[in-house]
């Protein structure tokens, strides 16, 4: 998934070569691959991701041509990393997101994966995930993915309640989800389901139904995200016109706490603010890589990449993206090279969200001084703090951004 607006940054060179900083210590960092599939059959009312519903975008950006274009970038990436002096590393995680990756034929997804494996290879036990819409999978397509090396599928369930799904413009029927989960299991894939809470019109009881329904599938992993109303979306416009009620943060808080309670009771544990897993082995390692500032290359229009404190992002529109690659140029349109201070800020901002916590030793004095106050306010777990880590309480998770600001007072 990629956001609608790209950040401001420095220009990115056409040869894709990275600054020297990217290679520093790279051998000790994990490497992963993100593949963005910018297509959906319908644009959901809340969605501001970089995705397109037309099957025929011009300039070599059609859905049919997309697999080949993505493979071009995979090969470009391998060359650029090598030429920038980064060591050969196998992929620890691969994640296909969208959009709706499963809108492409499973063969295309398998093809992109194969090219990436040809370039870098997979670590033993590597995690290979694709997001999927319950509507756009079949037992056969899931089997094909599993055979191609995928290990995990993440279903966009969002809700089990029809009127909530309707506000979100989700087209699947609720009963389709357990079916899809079963097919994935049968194919040998691990299963995660994504939920969204706080949709306008969703009651606390509606949400409870959704969480319990999701838990009844006994997934290995659940993500539960609060609905964010992004500018420019259909839902934002409806809200502005007063057609749907505004977002209520207290409602979000109640729903978050309810979800956490139900999932904990069902044997899942949170490992990141919005993510729960059945066992540590079920945690999404690709997701963790973002919060731990590992290295990854993001393939696809609008995709973001990171290596050793260098962040860059690709052209957003599939046509512009495809044309750059066709010309043998990097599809990146901007990048930032982070200085030590900025990397520190990111480190605190990202690691604080994890259940493994932020080591106190990573904090500057100003940040360490703030910890006592955070404990006093019930936002940080005192036992973990004594053991040398900043670990958010459930109240602290709901106020994680405020905690981060207090840890970064300067």
């Amino acid at each position: 998934m990629t956001p609608s607006a790209l950040p401001l940054g420095d220009p990115a060179p056409a040869d894709g070569l990275l600054p020297a900083q990217a290679a520093d210590g790279a051998a000790d960092r994990k490497f992963g691959l993100y593949v963005h599939i910018p297509f959906c059959s319908v644009r959901c009312g809340y969605c501001d991701f970089n995705t397109y519903t037309a099957t025929e975008l011009g300039g070599g950006a059609s859905q049919a041509a997309y697999g080949g274009t993505a493979e071009q970038e995979v090969r470009f990436a391998a060359r650029a990393l090598k030429a920038s002096g980064l060591p050969d590393r196998k992929m620890g995680t691969v994640f296909f997101g969208g959009g709706t990756p499963t809108l492409l034929p499973a063969e295309d997804l398998a093809g992109i994966l194969k090219t990436a494996v040809d370039m870098w290879g997979l670590e033993p036990g590597a995690e290979v995930t694709t997001e999927a819409n319950p509507d756009s999978v079949t037992p056969a397509s899931l089997q094909l993915l599993a055979d191609a090396g995928f290990t995990r599928v993440s279903f966009g369930m969002q809700s089990a309640v029809p009127h909530v799904l309707a506000v979100l413009d989700r087209t699947h029927t609720p009963s389709r989800v357990p079916e899809a989960v079963k097919w994935a299991r049968d194919a040998g894939l691990k299963v995660s389901v994504d939920l969204i809470y706080g949709t306008p019109g969703e009651s606390l009881a509606d949400w409870e139904i959704s969480v319990k329904e999701a838990l009844s599938y006994e997934p290995d992993h659940i993500s539960a995200y609060a609905l964010i109303i992004e500018d420019g979306t259909k839902l934002a416009a409806r809200m502005r016109r007063g057609e749907v009620p505004p977002i209520d943060d207290d409602d979000h808080a109640d729903k978050y706490l309810l979800a956490d309670e139900l999932m904990t009771a069902a044997g899942l544990s949170w490992y990141e603010v919005s993510n729960w897993a059945r066992t540590p082995a079920d945690q999404c390692r690709h997701n963790l890589a973002y919060w731990r500032s590992d290295d990854w290359w993001g393939i696809g229009p609008g995709a973001h990449s990171h290596a050793g404190g260098v962040r860059w992002w690709n052209a957003k529109h599939p046509t512009a993206y495809a044309q750059r690659l066709a010309a043998g140029e990097s599809p990146a349109v901007g990048r930032e090279t982070l200085d030590a201070e900025t990397r520190y800020v990111e480190d605190v901002m990202l690691r604080t969200r994890l259940a493994e916590g932020l080591e106190l030793s990573r904090l500057k004095d100003s940040g360490r001084l703030a910890v006592a106050g955070l404990m006093a306010d019930g936002l940080v777990d005192p036992h973990a703090a004594l053991a040398g880590r900043v670990l958010l309480t459930s109240k602290g998770r709901l106020l994680a951004d405020a905690v981060v600001r207090r840890l970064l007072p300067d």
Binding site: P3, A226, H304, H306, W313
Partner: protein, 617 residues
Amino acid sequence: MSPMARFSPVPAATDPAIIRNFCIIAHIDHGKSTLADRMLQSTGVVEHRNMKAQYLDRMDIERERGITIKSQAVRMPWELDGESYALNMIDTPGHVDFTYEVSRSLAACEGAVLLVDAAQGIEAQTLANLYLAMENDLTIIPVLNKIDLPAAQPEKYAEELAKLIGGDPEDVLRVSGKTGVGVEDLLDQIVREIPAPVGDPNAPARAMIFDSVYDTYRGVVTYVRVVDGKLSPRERIQMMSTRASHELLEIGVSSPEPTPSKGLGVGEVGYLITGVKDVRLSKVGDTVTNLAKPASESLPGYADPKPMVFSGLYPIDGADYPVLRDALEKLMLNDAALVYEPETSAALGFGFRVGFLGLLHLEITRERLEREYNLDLISTAPNVEYEVTLEDKKVVTVTNPSEYPEGKIKEVREPMVSATILAPNEFVGAIMELCQARRGVLGGMDYLSEDRVEIRYRLPLAEIVFDFFDILKSKTRGYASLDWKADGEQVADLVKVDILLQGEQVDAFSSITHKDKAYSYGVMMTGKLRELIPRQQFEVPIQAAIGSRIIARESIRAIRKDVLAKCYGGDISRKRKLLEKQKEGKKRMKMVGRVEVPQEAFVAALSSDESKDKAKK
């Protein structure tokens, strides 16, 4: 109809007998500036192509608001029955805040054109200025303007005017500044009716200052009316109130551009330039004389401007404090009525307590500071000057609630005004209700015409400085007009209400109010702040208190969610930038104890918009 004058009488050599000094008394919007512009055209001093709308209103704000803040004088030639005359039109400010300046302008004239909108009738401030003019024995020429408007009711208002000044409705002139109809008749009438000035040409020079304006290039330009003797270039003059002497670098008349002359004689109106840079050295109402041959007695009526309303002005960005200081210094050069001193607020930081003549003066000053000096300002709720006597007889003057003494208080005195309100009689009930609620005492009521009344109230100044006029306007659908003047003081049952955020007093929100209104102030302010202050990580009680007694309480519930659910596909840069923005936002917060209060909350809590909205409902 008279032709344009074939020759213009020469300044310094003009026989007082052919001089006519007059001003125009009019309400804002009644078309004074348009009429003045038309006179400039009719007399030929401004050619049509050089005309910009409202030639005489120099400041942008004046032109935008359609009002005159600073008065000026223009000399125009006019011919009647074969004789050339010099007409001096002295433009007067049109607002109650500037009554003193108006009175000085009137004192410089022998006559006044009473200009009234033929669709609206006379307004309270116009009436007040008319009374002022009549007290000064000025000849009044009643004129109805805008007779071209479809809504004009000249018969009705001619009768009203005739009744007011005692005359025949038939004698009320009817003009349209817009089309020019009747303007030449009016000029003729001015020559015929207004007496020529009288003075002793051989006596020591005496000239009254009726305006004083700072000009970036020329320094202070002083406008005078010569009463006795003569002023000439290069001689040394003396200001009789301060005994300060200056050399007359330039003397002349405005027609309407400044035109140097060989001097100014008896009855003449013109300007002086001495090179001084501060209008305080050239005070309105003061008498100018010749240093070598000084007059023994100054002209009557001089008074120092007295600030009536005080407000704290603070830059929203503390770093702008020096800019604000310099800006006030510069404004002061051009505004002798402006007084200020540095002040510190725990909540708002460094700023100034500024004294104003009234609310419009405050608004204009604030607007000029923001516009001309690019400042973003918070102004605290305006308050008046209280005199607090303690049990031990010590007297404290309070211009800021934070100066209100803590000890045992014997009595508090507050300034009073006598207010005149003119309105259609259907609104009498609403007006009386409002004035009563504002602790007013009815002084009397008169019918100006069949359906228009003049209502007189004595009111505490504090009750009219904040939102009174706005509410009056909305309760009378815009028809009421208000004038007021200082009218002594009274002992009142006043208390100071403090506002506390999480137990910490916020000085900017303290208010001195009547005991009976303390509760409603407390409820209003705590309620407002509950809406304006964002939720914090802890519950924030907001209390209103008199001393240690709590009179109202609200609380802001603790925020429960402040976390972005996800980062989008590894777009960490976006999340970091959001964090940076939040941290930047935090810097613009004022800390009250642990509570982060956005600047906007101060601005909104201290503005009267809410009361306006309420009144409109």
